[in-house]
Symmetry: C2
Subunit: 250 residues, 2 copies
DNA sequence: TCGCTCACTTAACATAGGTTATGGATAGTG
DNA sequence: CACTATCCATAACCTATGTTAAGTGAGCGA
């Protein structure tokens, strides 16, 4: 049951990739199942991230609450799915999760997951990188789903700005962006014409100045407020969580 | 350089989480850098997935070509980003990748990545699970970006159908779906009213029959054709790639 | 210098999908 | 058996964005 019942693990198992030792370890991880009732919340956005769950019965979903009162659902979880590895590598939850109908889940701590990696901080680093990438993807999804063009573009520019800043490629709030408006349109799911319109709009509001590939954000914070940018997913120094763990386990 | 220069690894390193042994290992992985010219393709969708890259200079992006001739960009890669772990766990590429301007990349084989995991097939399984989840997310993103409501809904239903079929919850092309149209709307980024409209449309075309929570797809393949469903990302038994590796490394 | 191409801007028009509203079926509850 | 709360269907209307088109300016090669 539990982890062994997961789609991927069943696959590994059926192909003889799992040793008896592996299986024993998995079974040892087995915790007491938890019975959940319909629409019960597993965790909330920004809550402390310390565990993930295998869904045994029932449907669940993860979602983000949006400023306009609606929500964007990131994924529905069916029996056999793992819910919550999305946040592995972060200290706080990037999204809320709840049940849809009654069900049963098996919780596992990230600590256990960490031990699975044999305390190799390299492997953990790779995993964290992957998770961070997924976080970016989720964030984009949220914006594609429910936000207007100018909010999407503002969000996009601010994300690029932050990412470039981390690697020291921003100077005086200005950076080089070698993208055509067509490429940006392909990323944001809007027509190149509308990208241009939207840039004009942001320019008129004094939020973005652009000359060819040079982009300047006169007031980055204003942009961030416009889109209520949640920078935890990009700015958090992921390894924090891991270095804690590394210290905890000799 | 190379992997050590990656955002996450730098973070680990600065916090003393990386032992000298770890660092030596990373340096050992160093391969000859590859100079890329503008718009040069790294790999194409469906190509064999065997390596990932660290971007040293230049910008790159990953994208999916759509049936209507346009493309959806999944992510832009800046210097220091890792490009291609998305496909770790799959035998074929889920998306194409190309450079935007001239640049330099460092390639690494999945084989090396695998060894990082200390040959623990459990850890690899967790990683694969996470990657599969990300693949689902990317697929949804593609649909949110560029497809019309009826295509999105058809795609959504077919995905649920496949996922339920894997766990034996489909009988006679019919399954239980405990979702309200409001929830579906929140997932697909459309209003509940339009979800209803779209269901009516699909019903009139004989593609979907629904009574309360009971959903029946009289001709699943017709649905799949409508959305040109690429089931490799959901149906492929990921562990294949790993069991090959496991066999290859004693 | 001329002329070509490419990226962008702006405008006019078309439409998919949002919004608001109303009514009908079903399930739950006292 | 009412009474109510959901969920869903359909309609009328509105708006953001797509589409098509025409014009501008920068870069670049002949």
């Amino acid at each position: 049951m539990a982890l062994l019942d997961t789609v991927v693990m069943r696959g590994l198992s059926s192909q003889g990739a799992l040793s008896n030792e592996d299986k024993a370890f998995l079974l040892e991880l087995e915790l007491s199942p938890r019975h959940m009732s319909a629409s019960e919340v597993l965790w909330l956005e920004n809550g402390h991230a310390d565990l993930f769950c295998v869904v045994k019965e029932g449907w669940g979903y993860s979602y983000r609450n949006l400023k306009n009162g609606s929500k964007q659902i990131l994924k529905f979880y069916l029996p056999g799915d793992i819910i919550g590895i999305r946040d592995f590598g972060f200290t706080r939850r990037l999204a809320s999760a709840a049940m849809i109908n009654d069900g049963v889940i098996y919780p596992f701590s990230y600590q256990q997951l960490f031990e699975l990696f044999g305390r190799s901080s390299l492997a953990v680093g790779i995993m964290a990188t992957a998770m961070r990438q997924q976080a970016l993807l989720s964030e984009r999804l949220v914006y594609l789903g429910k936000y207007a063009a100018h909010e999407q573009l503002a969000h996009f520019l601010y994300e690029i700005y932050l990412r470039l800043k981390r690697i020291g490629a921003v100077e005086d709030n200005s950076f080089l962006m070698p993208l055509t408006q067509e490429l940006i349109g392909d990323a944001l799911g809007m027509s190149p014409v509308h990208v241009s319109r939207t840039f004009s709009m942001l320019r008129e509001e004094g939020l973005v100045i652009r000359d060819r590939q040079r982009v300047k954000l006169p007031d980055p914070e204003a942009l961030a407020r416009l889109v209520e940018f949640n920078d935890s997913y990009i700015d958090e120094f992921l390894p924090h969580a891991f270095s804690e763990l590394l210290r905890a386990t000799p």
